[in-house]
Point group: C2
Chain length 619, copies 2
């Protein structure tokens, strides 16, 4: 096979690649992750790159239609549809780089309930001799306070292997790790047991390194989920696993490699050796959990969308291929059902929604938005649903949309001097992330450039019209970092209407089904990165969130990873997580007439006035 050299800027990565492969594939081989929502089918437009030099295949009609009229130059292309014909040099703009985005690692913390599962006992053992030939294990157990489960046949050979080695290298002075009172590991004295909590998101993976004895956080790290180059949404990935030979294996392997990489980063940051990691607790949405564990993807991907498990799972770390201490275990938090996964269980746990004293909402906005209503009392319970809100708030299918990477517009105001934009890291603006999108629409609603129905007033000075309709120029060509106008198009506004409509309809359906008046809702927890950076006033004004006093909104941050860490630390929290999954009632919207009816009405850009909700939902 003929080889050529592809160079990727601004990173300067080079790779030898076969003639005829796509820019997207070559970039993947060079270790450069390019964004993609559609899994390389040329429909999402997320993988725009610029061909700086060299010979590539000409664009076909599909590509041209996605790229539209506003290409800065003929050299702008879609990486997935552009094939290499010779040595090339490619520029990947920030807006197309999958890794360069803000990661939400931290969340709102609460102290764990109950005692820590892990404790450490230091022991000094007598040396073996011909008159004291007790085995290493018996020698150790004789020095420990009595514990249960010895006849439970649960001691792992890895424990013995480690004990035999450490005892002899530490002169029989040992730190013994006890979990629920039973010995699970040994180490030289002074080394406490460590655990890792991970939230496996569709786009981002976040992890915390926890000292299991003290319960303290040692380090936090995050990374992009490398599965992203196989499609940005879960359905694309499930389909890849279903349809491609070895697809499931490839996706699982990618995720496991990423987890190992995360473990290494966390350990490096914390100055801790990986062989102190006694336990890893993973949570993720249903798709991530199923892909990781190689559970059959079909039942989840096709109606009626059935998850394999809704109880916690446990296995040994080497079974999954995770590097950690000998005898380390991996726990996976239970799914609730459909597309409500273990990350949502962890979020409910972290926010304490299972113990709330009044009706409480939790919202995690993403391509799928999960909504929970926790309600105390005899008719109460934990009610969850997920609605397909689309990737608009993640910047996908938005004309100048991008993730919250450097240069993404996140605030927007119109002043007497014209528009003022604020960007991630203060870089020159290159596109529009979710919070910027909400801010821009809110502001244009305020000044009347957009009306309630979402129509752009075409007479405004910043409106430009093109073959695909009107667009508002947020940043003119000369002020931005892209060499072209950054636009908010009529199509973008419609995408936001659909997204916020689905979320509002979801919230209303949940309230209606549980006979909960909106004003009965106390706190509203906003989880995830979007919820952390969203301007709540803007969100209220476009009707994305229920119209409640601003003080009731609580930014929970990455509540999933916090919840996973709680289950790592305390047995009681583990039990709570298992109970949350079993207690939660999943409401399926796919066949829900009320939701469909509401969806039509909730697309208007009006605040969700409480009275109005109640009236409309009764109709």
């Amino acid at each position: 096979m003929d080889k050529l050299v592809a160079e990727f800027q601004p990173l300067g990565r080079r790779v030898k690649a076969a003639v005829g492969i796509s820019v997207f594939q070559a970039a993947r081989q060079a270790g450069v992750a390019i964004s993609s929502d559609c899994g390389g089918r040329g429909t999402c437009g997320r993988c725009r790159v610029e061909v700086l030099s060299g010979q590539v295949s000409p664009p076909n009609r599909d590509e041209l239609s996605v790229l539209e009229h506003n290409r800065a130059s003929g050299r702008q292309r879609l990486a997935c549809l552009t094939r290499l014909c010779g040595d090339v040099k490619i520029h990947i703009p920030n807006s197309s780089r999958a890794y360069d985005q803000r990661l939400q690692l931290q969340g709102r913390k609460r102290p764990p309930e109950g005692d820590n599962r892990y404790s450490v006992v230091n022991v000094e053992l007598s040396c073996p001799s011909l008159t004291d030939q007790r085995s290493d294990v018996t020698r150790l157990f004789d020095a420990l306070p009595p514990f249960e489960c010895l006849n439970g046949w649960q001691l792992h050979p890895d424990f013995v292997r480690r004990l035999s080695k450490v005892a002899r290298s530490s002169d029989w002075r040992l730190a013994v790790y006890l979990c629920d009172g039973a010995p699970v590991g040994v180490a030289p004295i002074g080394e406490s047991p460590m655990g890792i909590a991970v939230d496996m998101g569709t786009t981002k993976i976040a992890g915390l390194l926890i000292d299991l004895e003290s319960g303290k956080e040692i380090s936090a790290a995050g990374m992009v989920n490398p599965q992203i180059s196989y499609g940005e949404d879960v359905i694309s990935r499930l389909n890849y696993a279903i349809q491609k030979e070895n697809g499931g294996r490839i996706l699982a392997r990618l995720l496991i490699n990423a987890l190992n990489c995360l473990v290494k980063n966390l350990c490096d940051q914390g100055g801790v050796s990986a062989d102190r990691i006694m336990e890893i607790t993973l949570c993720g949405n249903t798709a991530m959990s199923h892909l990781l564990l190689r559970l059959p993807p079909e039942p989840l991907a096709r109606a009626p969308y059935i998850a394999g498990f809704s109880t916690p799972l446990e296995m040994m770390a080497p079974e999954l291929g995770l590097k950690s201490a000998p005898g380390a275990r991996v726990s996976v938090l239970p799914c609730i059902g459909g597309f409500v996964g273990g990350d949502h269980v962890a979020m409910i746990l972290a926010c304490g929604l299972d113990r709330c004293s009044g009706s409480t909402l939790g919202v995690d906005i993403g391509t799928n938005t999960e909504i929970v209503l926790a309600k105390p009392g005899p008719n109460g319970g934990i009610f969850v649903l997920s609605c397909a809100s689309g990737p608009a708030f993640e910047g996908a299918h938005i004309h100048d949309g991008m993730r919250a990477a450097s240069g993404a517009i996140e605030t927007f105001r119109i002043t007497a001097d014209g528009p003022i934009v604020g960007t991630v890291n203060g870089e020159p603006p290159v596109g529009l992330c979710g919070s910027g999108l909400v801010a821009a629409i809110s502001e244009l609603l305020r000044i009347g450039v957009i009306d309630e129905r979402g129509h752009l007033k075409t007479t405004h000075q910043h409106i430009r019209s093109g073959p695909n309709g009107a667009a508002f120029v947020l940043v003119p060509e000369k002020s931005g970092g892209t060499g072209r106008d950054i636009l908010l198009t009529q199509k973008d506004i419609s995408a936001v209407q659909l997204a916020k409509g689905a979320i509002q309809a979801g919230i209303r359906t949940l309230l209606a089904k549980t006979a909960t008046p909106a004003d009965e809702v106390g706190d509203v927890y906003l989880a995830g990165a979007f919820g952390s950076y969203l301007n709540i006033d803007s969100a209220l004004s476009i009707g994305l969130l229920p119209d409640l006093p601003k003080a009731r909104f609580v930014r929970a941050g990455n509540a999933a990873v916090v919840g996973a860490a709680l289950t790592l630390i305390s047995r009681q929290e583990r039990k709570r997580a298992a109970e949350i999954a079993l207690r939660s009632r999943h409401i399926e919207l796919a066949t829900d007439a009320q939701f469909t009816r509401l969806l039509v009405r909730t697309m208007r850009f009006v605040p969700c006035v409480q009275g109005k909700i109640k009236k409309m939902d009764r109709g």
Copy 2:
């Protein structure tokens, strides 16, 4: 590297091998196992082969001294010291073939105590739908009677994977395997769960396939432990693991491959698919258990001979690399200490020695002989020791010694017409196995050709004398299957004296240390292949066994594999096994003055008269 062709007869196997490698190595490459006690150091003489044609290295002085004067021809050589110089044809006699030996697969059975651990519940589940989106696990659990440990975080992802697949391929009609009431596996209705019990001996591996629901034995299979070509005794193998780079890995890998082969044979014989194997229970001597689990071998191989564990161990089958059902577990029975391993625990359990109503002995004769005395009552207990009895009874270091393979002499009588021999499988005699050795010495003692001190009467007509002393011709050249005399040499007799002396001294030490008069001993259980075929009259007459009424001797057969099977079937038996290991008191003989004193006296060929034992041991 130059290659040549080596052909091995009578199997007709051919292999391309490098010039300069030994016959032994070439045979291993051809998949032919040649016996070896010394791990290829040219000292044991077990690997005699005949060079039929072709060029090989000439014998050195060491080799000639091992081969001695009685080589049938100059073409008889030691496989480990003979190097290939060109294409060769080699004959491997039965007596040198490691695999062609009688395997003791069966043992004396008793019904297990307590209920079976496994049970099967057939369920018919409702199909999932948009109005019933319960996860597969919840759907199943809702249909089962309540069980504990759901919050114990112990459900394995493999369980879910299998459930999701089988449920959909069996139209939601399932057989659920419960272990101690909790679900551990699923299968199409009609398939019961299977388990495998294995005794990993130093030379032989024996396994039973058990229906875990009924507790019934489905099939039995055995094979030679392939580690044998790395040394026939455990110390050689432990040293190989200690000294050679990757030695431990190589030995573990060999054993695991053998176990997988055994699992396959058992399944093929039983007509059962391997993915029904829910559990595998392994027992073995301390060395085999440590080598399998890759526990550090040094502490066991060097004084004070410390085992890593004396509690049961458990791991997932894939962690060890064993093929079985998804979610299958492997248990390893606990060692007691020193060189008394899990096989001895299983033997004690199978023979019920932990519940005996009177003082009971158990003896498993091998290169290491393990002896147990179980004694009820307030001063009672389970007392165990192991003594190095040498490999004489396994046919090693005996002039014409061999394992109990076809053609091995196992019975011997002198009649008026001369000696009459009986051989394994009735083949022409080619050598002498352990039971034949005891029979021959016993018979020669009876007719006075050997005296109490073990001296051969050189005046007998069948005595032949050579440079290494006198020898009795058991089978003359013309009657045997080897083309030469089959001899019992003075050296052989001394080896037996050492072996039986050690065993007798071990038994006496055990009785003395526990203040047990010999006539108080009720039953004497003889475990293992040697104990199964040994002529008890002969053994008594040479003083190998304590001089008790013949009826008190019980042949237990492969009691280890039977004991392992009991722990597989019943929880109560598992508990008993764990208790046996913890309760048993190990007596170390390495520094025992009494044992050393006894050793000198017990070498005489006189029956262990009860009164004599008592008097002598008090001295």
